[in-house]
């Protein structure tokens, strides 16, 4: 590769920050023991202290107590545990959960899998900007409802939900509330001491931390049963040898995200949106203009197909993703774009740009120029573009 890659797929995964790696290293080479009890050997006690320190830092960031946070292998496991673990603990009290149509796959597919086993699930509608219909939420609640799982922000279009209102509703009805905060943790304010939430999924891979480490915040006394059988680690909720270097790296990554960085990322994102809307004809911004995470832009380029755009961008050293069916492993169009009332054409030409720590304004200008050329070229050969302009 001749030039540096312009990486705008930071919601998929991020480049590790060197400082994170430095913090992790001692737990691979020096304090490499398992976390033991305080009555065991020194190395194990030191490992335990490192792990608990990381736990405390992350719990504090979320506004919770240290013992309310357990480590997992990432968002997928956290959300699976939240939903299936609560159901296991509360199945005698009710047989209904509520989620939304545009959740990320860990929540959506956990719900679908439980549905096949007989659980009743309501998938809430969202409006054209991706905001959950709160009236629909209130109406959907029954005596059987034991859990509401609604994401803090969407993985594709970046729309943020009014988790305060959802928290109020769930509190009022005495129903547990889980939120997937994979794309908002440290990027947007999220404090469970201000907005009570029972379960929160977070992950390191979206904030320049290591992959394979995430957490589930579980408010004290929340009924939940373990999913993986094994040892008694993580308060007997998540078995398996703790990923201590990962936990240390996660805490460090969370510590390194600053308000200034979030502001910078938001400005880059806004600049990209403004320039594309101005310079490329026949495009639509997907999601809400302001109620969105700072790192996300998602734009539909009408009359062209997303995989063709991403391939051209890749040949120009730019990495993005698309909601087009042709791009996905399942060959299914984005359920998020379809969920906000878009058709396959809108999903087909949708491109997601997600920013991170290592992007700069020069890259934004390059991307705008390349994408406007690529889209123009593809429209020249598109029978639809001709139709739309006629």
């Amino acid at each position: 590769m001749k030039e540096k890659i312009i990486y705008l797929d930071n919601s998929a995964s991020t480049r590790l920050d060197e400082r994170v790696l430095e913090a992790m290293k001692p737990y691979y080479f020096d304090t490499y023991a398992v976390a033991t009890s305080e009555f065991a050997y020194t190395l194990g006690i030191l490992a335990r202290e490192g792990l608990d320190e990381a736990r405390e830092k992350l719990a504090t960031k979320l506004g919770g107590n240290t013992e309310e946070l357990i480590f997992t292998s990432g968002s997928t496991e956290s959300s699976n545990l939240a939903i299936k673990g609560v159901l296991k603990a509360k199945h005698k009290e009710g047989n209904h959960i509520i989620t939304s149509k545009i959740e990320d796959f860990p929540v959506l597919n956990s719900a679908k899998s439980l549905e096949r086993d007989g659980l009743k699930v309501t998938y809430l509608d969202v409006d054209k900007k991706g905001i959950v219909d709160l009236e629909h939420l209130k109406e959907a609640i029954t005596k059987e409802t034991i859990l509401i799982s609604i994401q803090h922000a969407n993985q594709e279009i970046g729309t943020t939900q009014d988790i305060k209102a959802i928290s109020d509703i769930s509190f009022d009805k005495n129903i547990l509330f889980h939120t997937d905060a994979t794309h908002t943790f440290t990027r947007l304010p999220l404090n469970v001491s201000k907005i009570p939430i029972d379960l929160v999924t977070i992950s390191a891979h979206t904030i320049h931390g290591p992959r394979g480490i995430g957490s589930l915040f579980i408010k004290k006394d929340t009924p939940i049963k373990k999913e993986l059988d094994g040892g008694f680690q993580e308060q007997n909720i998540r078995a398996g040898i703790e990923n201590i270097p990962g936990a240390i790296g996660f805490a460090k990554a969370a510590e390194l995200v600053t308000k200034e960085e979030n502001e910078k990322i938001k400005n880059l994102r806004d600049s990209l949106i403004d320039k594309i809307l101005k310079e490329v004809p026949d495009v639509d911004l997907n999601g809400h203009r302001t109620k969105r995470i700072p790192q996300n832009a998602n734009i539909t380029f009408h009359s062209v197909e997303g995989e063709s755009i991403t391939l051209h961008l890749d040949m120009n050293g730019i990495a993005v993703s698309t909601g087009s069916a042709c791009f996905s492993r399942s060959l299914e169009a984005s359920h998020v774009i379809l969920g906000i009332g878009g058709d396959h054409e809108q999903a087909h030409g949708s491109i997601r740009f997600t920013f991170g720590r290592y992007n700069d304004i020069k890259e934004v200008d390059t991307v705008v120029q390349v994408i406007s050329d690529v889209v123009e070229r593809l429209r020249k050969i598109s029978p639809l573009a001709k139709k739309r302009s006629d």
Partner: protein, 214 residues
């Protein structure tokens, strides 16, 4: 760069050949649809005496495989007689391109169907097809295999979206197609338009009626 495509696919994707529309085309076809996925349009010019394809142009709304296949098909078909061109298959195109990912078969096969339909369109217009095939239920089903079920991305026949097909009349047929979608479904109109487009230009069809679920 690490991509699942051959050099030749990428070459045709980056620099597609024979793009656009022939002027006063002798045959024309559109396969696929914007509602459900990729789309290819082909126009051909044919020498009436020799029945050789003298010019062929394509347009594509699709992914890399779709664009590359459209492009290679025009190269292969140009200069061939109609009978030779009819024999061009997806395999021919794929081999010529140095292979296509199997998962992309459905995007790339459209160009092949488009070529066959453009030839058929020419033959129907020029009365070459000795006896135009009457529109039977079988023919309707075959045509509707090119209409995608937007809910699944697979065709409406295979996914049982068509609940009944009624054909009345002889040389001015009225075709009634019942669809397992309600009228206010977000894709109802797309599906309706596509079904009509696939059938209403046949020379023994007078009207196509699409009926939605009550």
């Amino acid at each position: 760069m690490k991509l699942p495509y051959s050099e030749k696919v990428l070459d045709h994707f980056k620099n597609p050949r024979n793009v656009g529309e022939c002027e006063d085309p002798d045959g024309k076809s559109v396969e696929g649809s914007p509602a459900c996925g990729d789309m290819v349009q082909l126009t051909i010019k044919v020498d009436e005496k020799t029945r050789i394809i003298t010019d062929i142009k394509f347009m594509s709304y699709g992914c890399a495989s779709n664009i590359a296949t459209g492009s290679i098909i025009t190269e292969i078909a140009k200069g061939k007689t109609l009978d030779e061109a009819k024999k061009i298959s997806w395999k021919t195109a794929s081999e010529e391109l140095g292979g296509l990912p199997a998962v992309k078969a459905h995007c790339s096969v459209l160009a092949v169907s488009a070529l066959r339909e453009a030839i058929r369109n020419y033959e129907e217009k020029h009365g070459i097809v000795e006896k135009p095939e009457p529109t039977t239920e079988e023919v309707v089903k075959r045509r509707l295999q090119h209409v995608m079920n937007p809910l699944t991305g697979l065709d409406v026949i295979r996914t049982n979206l068509i609940t009944s097909i009624k054909i009345e009349g002889d040389d001015k047929k009225i075709i009634e197609i019942s669809v397992d979608l309600s009228e206010d479904h977000q894709f109802a109109n797309n599906v309706k338009e596509e079904i009509k487009e696939k059938l209403q230009y046949r020379n023994d069809v007078d009207e196509v009626i699409v009926i939605f679920k009550k």
